[in-house]
Symmetry: C2
Subunit: 461 residues, 2 copies
């Protein structure tokens, strides 16, 4: 076979013939597309194809397949484990131009969108229908990217993750064929679940071009509350009992004292410097009142402080400000640092123990690493604030990260609750799944025999 550089050059010539100026080899454009929001080392693709239709995606894939050139799909570049890094070069397929809402079926509570539609764009278009799409990973990510990484976020505890909320999708497979994994029925027993196979496949099996999503009616009543606790254990025990009691909280988020300190400084707030829960309730007026009362009683039993409440949208935003600003606030704790976020998820009965042990690791370390968690799911994040040029700091972050993941796995948890594998957690995936990784590799090789779809991510081939 020809050298890769020759093959890439040929592919680029053919792509230019198809896409004209929408095929870019400008170094800054390529660099921007080889980098996500993680700490992982970026790798520029050889070119970026700005596609505007499924037909163009097919064309790009066929050309790349003909020349065995890697293809890396790109949404908003907000992934966190190096998902978009072009580890072996190749062509990045930027899907942001495919941003049409194809259909909103209010009666069926579903919508079909192109992959480049972002979640805010979708929700702005749903508002006048009294509907919303709940999944909220923080960033204004693209729906295609959220599906590809099995994203979740703050209200997964109530509404599930992309796993539960993608009804079906269309994808261009590595040989240019298009599949539609499901129609719009709410449930189906018709064959292998290709929807769920592609959700979370991180661009390694095909390029997701269209997604059909479940929608929800905007609740009659939304109320928020914030409550601080004397200890991390007390806060987490409140969460555990809330979940075990089956109270359908819409969000239940934890910030540790370090993160509260960061947000107080950054957003000029005066929250008590203590582990704090941020809660949101969705339902009828009666329903949210009842839920709130039940949680308040549980918090009271765990020595939680006063509940601060808000129900109007502006007040809710003010109350939740600390949570919303957490990422920026963390970064501001150490000007010039780079953030390295990691995430695990454990059974909720082990959550207090897992967070406490992790907090001990951080307290004993010279590194800063505030904690924030979607604790209702047993999911939390540790964000290392590192100087990327200091090997000692990187080694220390690696050490604590490895201890965190080992701990989560020993507690019957997962090495990533929502960030995905990318190339940052390929080895941890092996630790978690063992023989299962061989089955993943067999699937990858069967569907992408040339290993051109986002190579080096999820599983090594």
């Amino acid at each position: 076979m020809e050298k890769q550089s020759t093959r890439v050059d040929t592919a680029i010539q053919e792509l230019v013939a198809n896409l004209g100026e929408r095929l870019s080899t400008v170094p800054s454009v390529c660099a921007q597309h080889g980098q996500d929001e993680s700490f992982h080392k970026p790798h520029s693709p050889d070119a970026v194809a700005f596609v505007s239709s499924t037909e163009e995606v097919i064309e790009v894939v066929k050309i790349c397949a003909n020349h065995s050139v890697p293809i890396i799909p790109f949404g908003t570049g907000t992934s966190l484990e190096g998902h978009v890094a072009a580890l072996s070069g190749g062509i990045c397929v930027d899907l942001t131009g495919m941003n049409e809402l194809l259909s909103i079926n209010a009666a069926d509570l579903d919508a079909t969108v192109q992959a480049g539609v972002t979640r805010r764009q979708l929700n702005e278009n749903l508002r006048h229908e009294g509907l919303f799409f709940p999944i909220d990973p923080g960033a204004d990510a693209s729906i295609g990217g959220m599906a590809a990484t099995r994203a979740s976020g703050t209200n997964a505890v109530r509404y599930g993750t992309m796993r539960e909320n993608v009804l079906g999708l269309s994808a261009v497979m590595p040989d240019g064929r298009v599949i539609k994994t499901a129609r719009r029925a709410r449930k189906s027993s018709a064959g292998y679940d290709l929807t769920r196979l592609l959700v979370g496949s991180e661009g390694t099996l095909g390029i997701i071009t269209e997604v059909t999503l479940r929608l929800y009616g905007v609740p009659e009543s939304v109320t928020c509350a914030v409550c601080s606790f004397p200890t991390l254990q007390a806060a987490v025990d409140t969460v555990i009992l809330t979940i075990q009691s089956g109270i359908p909280v819409a969000r239940i988020e934890l910030l540790d004292d370090a993160m509260i300190d960061a947000t107080n400084r950054f957003s000029k707030l005066d929250n008590a410097l203590a582990p704090t829960l941020f809660l949101e309730f969705h339902g009828t007026r009666t329903g949210t009142e009842e839920q709130a009362e039940m949680v308040q009683q549980i918090a009271y039993d765990h020595k939680g402080g006063e509940f601060r409440w808000a129900s109007h949208a502006e007040d809710r935003n003010r109350l939740w400000r600390a949570r919303h600003d957490a990422a920026y606030a963390a970064k501001a704790l150490r000007p010039g640092c780079q953030m390295w976020p990691t995430d695990v998820c454990v059974p909720i009965s082990r959550l207090a123990e897992c967070i406490s042990a992790t907090k001990d690791d951080v307290d004993e370390s010279f590194l800063m690493a505030p904690i924030v968690g979607h604790v209702g799911d047993g999911n939390f994040h540790l964000t290392f604030l590192v100087d990327p040029d200091c090997p000692k700091e990187i080694a220390e972050a690696n050490r604590i990260n490895e201890r965190l993941i080992d701990r989560a796995l020993l507690m019957d948890g997962t090495c990533t609750g929502e960030h995905g594998v990318g190339y940052g957690k390929v080895d941890f995936l092996v630790a978690e799944h063992g023989e299962g990784v061989n089955i993943m590799q067999a699937i990858k090789s069967a569907i992408d025999p040339q290993n051109i779809m986002n190579p080096g991510k999820v599983v090594r081939v």
Copy 2:
């Protein structure tokens, strides 16, 4: 390669050496294991292996793999599309002996069970914990079989199907390797979703040996209601508006007038001969009252009759009697007949139209075929009552079934909402998925290159 009969004989000799009397070649035992509750033609396996541990399953699979002998997993034999028929002979693996509850984690609301545990057995063991497992396909099926067929049933509208309620599973793969698809975290972005790939794979990719399930707290309040309607359209429109309003009904079932007639005769009831909804509400006392009020108002607006209510367990059972007895009642409409149940699922906005057109087909036919539906999901069943020896009747049932499935697909629905593909719907799967079936075949061939796992089901290789 040797003839299959020789290879099977060799495999049986080796299996007897391992299992002794738990390897049976008794014709009646084999016949019973080649037949499910469907109308599809049974096919006896050459032998039945009554396994009692994962180690024995591994042993059986290795022996069969060595000799390229088909393997058909068997739970309770209650599937409905010929799933257990040994189309190419081979060894049936009866998992009913693997019926241990391995762990119940009340604090995490999950349980791990061996595949042969039935759902009633599980629920009996959960009762004293105040927990339950909601998925209820009607039959007292095994959890392994329910996972393998992606079962759902009456309360999927509230709690989801096996797709949403299996946290992870262990399976023996076609080469005898064991994989565990996930640990017990509520969510994970760690690699391809092997859990969802095996859920619904109908024994064609591996033998499920253990399943970890989500559990739920027994609701504080459970109330039931029954209401009849002047027309099918009015009943279904009530369902549609209930779902669109986001009212979290636990069950919402429809029986058409023919099915009500059948149940009145069979169970000596006096329900009005009209399309009737059976409802169940789960929640706090306040919550169920509020839900019931909202649905009652919607039903009233659609000219529904009086709501009959029950909240004590015995009264609820009495009120729901017609629904519980529906299958037996249908069969009794025509003594000596065989039932041929089929199922589709459509977006809820198309449900009234789909059921009405189907009902017209039945009314115009000489065949009897009552309708019962898990209508909250857009899912319903048609049960043909046929004389299996009358080609004219079979042809007529086939004709109406094909029209039903074409109609469901045209309405963006699926050829099976919950019964699965087995060998009865292999061709309809192609109609539904097109190119997607090629991807399913690629996965099947990659994981089971010898095509020994339940061959002839789901996809043809």
